[in-house]
């Protein structure tokens, strides 16, 4: 979705240097006339290598800064979080502008999805930071006399956050909140596909935050690749599964843990709803979650609808009416639907509709022009068509009709696990079945997208939709190492813990592990005979 899937070559700097130099040598040998050309290439390579060296130096300095312990201080963490808050408060108009430029987002949508939600998260982190940072006592069995144990949170070190273009501000800052709260130093690489937002972040973050510990590095696949060659203590990636695989493979070289926030085809089950109010609300929520969240370019946006055959005519009619009230006769002029990020994705989406069988299933659309696609509704496109195989990530909404709504469970189970599953239903037994029989990152009943705002729920995928989770305390956890610490005193010791071994000691161990305290006493007093041992 974001980068071209490029193979990562020459992980060891020495490797690619040698390979590239060999290539240049051959150019010289083959044809002297190509000398000039080779000079240009050499120059290019020298520049690239220099950039790599610069990057390594920069990161070394950041590691040094982390080692100094500054980022661990609660005061530093608070100051940075407040800095973020200030950044968001003071630059709202500019954020509205850059989001308009990159994605044509309406300010209300921008505020709801990117600014407001982030402000809320920062406030939540500030309110809870003290509790998160304090260590937690662990319970101990009685045999562990005079021992105390605790789980102590400690930052991971230098972390890399790679964010995506669809919520270029929100998905950049949300992980930063966790990384800062946990006391790490970090590099953010915003997506180059939302260039205005990327340069906004690169400009503003150093102005509001401690640039020794928090850096923004802009760039495309080449920079991404160079960053991935470095050693990080955590990589947090939001984007496509294809690039996610590349990120994880690169992380494996340094044993770096990863959090991958990917996507998937998120289904919305719409059960037969008897009350007209319920239906109306459900349709509003579905359309809101599809078309008004970055025009469907959201990892938790609704990808398709599952509905019973007999209910679908009512649903489609209502959708058409509601689309009109939400976006007017001419949705483009309403400025309430974002545009497609770029030509490449525009063509991809058009391509999905090019299949004649898919085209035939369209029941509602307007003409699409430039990089803008009108909300489009399709009914029963072929299940093996691209539109039903790939994540749509655009304002196209297929409706799949089923005989019985219960069939939706099997329908979802037979496909890769989605990041979210939505179900509009008042049927308790169906709800129960959905929770226990399907698997997805999260489940929301009777609404959509709203789970993104819940600080108390983990946000993250499973299977193809991702690894790890964040938001609220989970963000803090994701960037924290929970160190197990136990303290012992020299006073009490069980002499039988140490060799030379004998049956008497074995018996004592038996009692201890079974927490049979009476047995321990009896054996110690030699009132209980030890069982003879078995091995030689």
């Amino acid at each position: 979705m974001i980068w071209r899937a490029q193979p990562i070559i020459g992980i060891k700097t020495g490797g690619w240097k040698r390979r590239e130099e060999g290539y240049i040598q051959r150019l010289y040998d083959k044809n002297q006339a190509a000398n000039n050309f080779a000079h240009i290439i050499t120059h290019h390579l020298v520049v690239r290598r220099q950039k790599m060296v610069d990057l390594e130096k920069e990161l070394a300095a950041m590691r040094e800064y982390y080692s100094s312990g500054n980022t661990r201080d609660a005061s530093w963490r608070r100051a940075q979080l407040r800095g973020l808050l200030l950044l968001l408060h003071e630059n709202q108009t500019e954020i509205f502008n850059v989001l308009k430029q990159d994605l044509g987002k309406h300010p209300a949508e921008a505020y709801r999805d990117e600014i407001g939600s982030t402000i809320k998260s920062i406030n939540y982190a500030l309110d809870n930071l003290k509790g998160w940072m304090s260590s937690e006592k662990a319970k101990l069995p009685k045999v562990a006399l005079l021992t105390t144990a605790a789980i102590v949170p400690e930052p991971l070190g230098l972390v890399l956050v790679i964010s995506s273009w669809n919520f270029p501000i929100g998905l950049s800052i949300e992980p930063l909140i966790g990384a800062i709260a946990a006391g790490n130093s970090m590099v953010l690489k915003p997506s180059e596909l939302a260039p205005s937002c990327s340069s906004f972040l690169a400009q503003k973050i150093p102005a509001y935050l401690d640039s020794n510990g928090i850096k923004v590095i802009e760039g495309g696949p080449t920079v991404g690749e160079q960053l991935l060659q470095q050693k990080w203590d955590k990589i947090f990636f939001t984007g496509s599964a294809g690039v996610g695989r590349i990120v994880m493979a690169a992380a494996a070289k340094h044993l770096t843990p990863v959090t991958l926030e990917l996507g998937g085809k998120c289904p919305a089950i719409v059960d037969f709803l008897s009350s007209s109010w319920d239906i109306e609300v459900a349709v509003e929520r579905v359309l809101g979650a599809k078309f008004s969240a970055c025009a469907g370019q959201a990892c938790i946006g609704i990808d398709y609808i599952l509905v019973e055959k007999k209910f679908y005519p009512t649903l489609v009619e209502l959708i058409k009416i509601k689309l009109k009230t939400m976006f007017g006769e001419n949705p483009r002029d309403s400025h309430s639907v974002a545009r497609i990020i770029n030509r490449h994705h525009f063509l991809r989406l058009k391509c999905l509709l090019d299949d004649p069988n898919v085209r035939a299933s369209i029941v509602h659309t307007k003409k699409s022009q430039e990089v803008y696609i009108e909300p489009t509704i399709l009914v029963d496109p072929p299940l093996e068509s691209m539109i039903m195989e790939d994540e749509i990530f655009g304002p196209l909404l297929p409706i799949i009709t089923l005989q019985k709504i219960e069939d939706s469970i099997e329908f979802i189970r037979s496909r890769p696990k989605p990041l979210s599953l939505y179900a509009f239903t008042n049927d308790r037994s169906l709800r129960k079945r959905i929770i226990s029989e399907t698997s997805s990152g999260s489940v929301v009943f009777n609404d959509a997208l709203i789970q993104y705002l819940a600080d108390t729920l983990p946000f993250g995928g499973i299977g193809d939709s991702g690894i790890g989770r964040y938001h609220g305390k989970f963000s803090f956890d994701e960037f924290t190492h929970y160190k197990a610490v136990a303290w012992r005193s020299f006073l009490v010791d069980f002499w039988f813990r140490f060799p030379p071994w004998n049956d008497h000691k074995l018996q004592l161990f038996r009692h201890c592990y079974e927490y049979d305290y009476l047995g321990v006493i009896l054996t110690v007093l030699r009132l209980k005979k030890p069982k003879p041992s078995s091995a030689s």
Partner: protein, 539 residues
């Protein structure tokens, strides 16, 4: 921890001495890999290798692996493994198996490692059993969905976090605690309701084949399986799509496992090792301290444990006293001739014996021996050996020792010791022996390690309330107790909304009033909400 062989996909893994050559061109034929043949030879040379190859003539390859995983996936899809009853019955099965077959287990461990019965009992059998008991006792609580509060932003709603099994998981275990390190993760995987494949280490063959037999006998075969084998079998397994892979072993193989997992976006838990330091202060009760060091080094599988003490840091003045006490303590524990003591495990095989002897025989290292140094190649035994002030750049201070040698580094003051520890890759465990409260505090604050224990060694892993896992080079993820359950569960956020209390503010068309209301709602600003609702606002 060192696992001498393992591999994935088209990537071949080389024996121990080929470290850090991951970018070598891939070898096409397995048998041409010298390390593998060396390993085979070394295994048969150890003399205690049971005959098991004959009955395993059928090679476990790609098609067998995919067949196996399909079977297990079907079992998982049937939903059987998700039920509380199934989980409990399997855990009870494990408990029963340990109780009934204790003797067989002790024998297998003796064959593989000459592990003293008592050590086998308390470090492998009891620990597995208590972790099984703990899971049985707490399972109901662990499985219960956790209700969470929801904020005003999403009002009215309710929410909970549901733990759901991941699916079909792979557990690759190690040879040093071949029983515990196989069963402990399997217990977690079962408790969380997954189907499991266990691949025990081929370097502890007796335990591996015992596990294969016992798990089949005591547990549900349709969802819990053991695949025995070495590199080719592991390769075939790693090629499949799993829902989680838990690997215990070396960092080198850990990288291969994670790279293989990346192809299927499979999350991993890597339990690796590292050089675990013990910093010893001069104000300690020496006798107790030394006993605990002995328990944390030589009584822990002869130092072949991922959390055993790798090296000691102490002050220059205190070192001689410590060495004297160690001498006395070793004699008390293992007798005058420790190499003949039945209370110490042997080195696992000739390959590792050779590796350890090479570490010891390095020119600059050998004459630093202050205690021990004897070895008996036939028995694969090396006496408890203490070395003083070996050079920092010698091999023994560069790699995880994983054997009965204990170098002591001396420093001017112990804070300097913290720097020594921090200058190396992060260890799985770090130990400090002191009565100085300030030093304890600094240690916890400034030293990074998977876990740490003050005034003892190893015992912290027996605390089920503590997570066990590494950081950096020492691993990814943690387990034990509830953490095992969590490691094999997906935490699914579930949110319930009703159709009542909807506000059109969330949906287009967007008006200025909606924008203001939205701001107030998201910020949880009640007055703002009211003001916006009654359209009373400041420009």
């Amino acid at each position: 921890m060192l696992w001498a062989a393992g591999g994935c996909g088209r990537t071949l893994v080389f024996g121990y001495h080929f470290t850090a050559k991951s970018d070598l061109p891939l070898l096409p034929v397995l048998s041409s890999c010298p390390a593998i043949s060396l390993l085979c030879r070394s295994a048969s040379a150890s003399g205690t290798f049971p005959v098991m190859a004959e009955e395993e003539n059928r090679v476990f390859g790609a098609s067998e692996a995919s067949l196996l995983i399909r079977e297990l996936r079907d079992s998982f899809k049937s939903g059987r493994t998700k039920s509380y009853d199934w989980r409990v019955s399997q855990l009870r099965g494990i408990e029963k198996m340990i109780e009934e077959r204790e003797k067989d287990i002790i024998q297998a461990l003796y064959m593989d490692l000459s592990k003293p019965e008592l050590e086998s009992f308390f470090s492998e059998i009891s620990t597995s059993k208590s972790s099984c008991k703990k899971a049985l006792k707490e399972l109901k609580k662990w499985m219960m969905p956790e209700k969470v509060k929801t904020s005003m932003t999403t009002y009215p709603s309710s929410a909970e976090i549901v733990s759901e099994p991941l699916g079909v998981v792979l557990v690759i275990s190690a040879w040093n605690y071949p029983f515990l390190l196989s069963l402990d993760p399997v217990i977690g995987a079962i408790a969380a309701g997954n189907a499991v494949v266990l691949k025990p280490s081929e370097i502890a063959p007796a335990t591996s084949s015992l596990l294969a037999r016992l798990l089949e006998e005591y547990l549900d075969k349709s969802a819990i399986r053991v695949v025995e084998g070495a590199v080719p079998e592991t390769t075939a397994l790693l090629d499949q799509k799993w829902d989680k892979i838990m690997y215990t072993g070396s960092g080198r193989v850990g990288r291969i496992v994670m790279a293989a997992a990346a192809r299927h976006l499979t999350p991993v838990i890597l339990e690796l090792g590292g050089k675990c330091p013990a910093i010893v202060d001069s104000n300690v009760k020496l006798e107790v301290c030394v006993r605990r060091i002995i328990a944390g080094k030589w009584a822990a599988n002869s130092g072949q444990a991922c959390i055993s003490i790798d090296y000691i840091i102490t002050t220059k003045q205190f070192a001689p006293k410590l060495i004297d006490a160690l001498k006395k303590g070793i004699e008390e524990s293992f007798g005058e001739k420790p190499i003949e003591s039945p209370d110490m495990s042997r080195i696992v095989n000739a390959f590792h014996f050779k590796r350890l002897v090479n570490l010891l025989d390095e020119e600059r290292v050998y004459h630093k021996i202050v205690l021990g140094g004897q070895r008996e190649e036939k028995l694969l035994k090396i006496a408890p050996t203490v070395l003083l002030d070996v050079p920092e750049d010698s091999q023994i201070m560069q790699e995880e020792i994983f054997g009965p040698m204990l170098p002591i580094l001396t420093v001017e003051n112990l804070e300097e010791g913290f720097e020594v520890v921090n200058s190396k890759p992060k260890p799985l465990a770090a130990y400090l022996f002191t009565n100085n409260e300030q030093l304890k505090k600094e240690f916890v604050q400034n030293v990074s390690a998977g876990g740490m224990l003050v005034n003892d060694a190893i015992l912290h892993v027996t605390v089920p309330g503590l997570p066990f896992g590494g950081i950096g080079e020492s691993g990814i993820g943690a387990y034990h107790g509830k953490f095992s359950f969590d490691a094999f569960s997906h935490k699914k956020g579930v949110m319930y909304r009703s159709f009542e209390g909807d506000s059109s503010v969330r949906y287009p068309p967007y008006t200025p009033k909606k924008q203001r209301l939205l701001k107030a709602l998201i910020n949880g600003n009640i007055i703002g909400i009211i003001l916006a609702l009654i359209s009373w606002y400041r420009k």
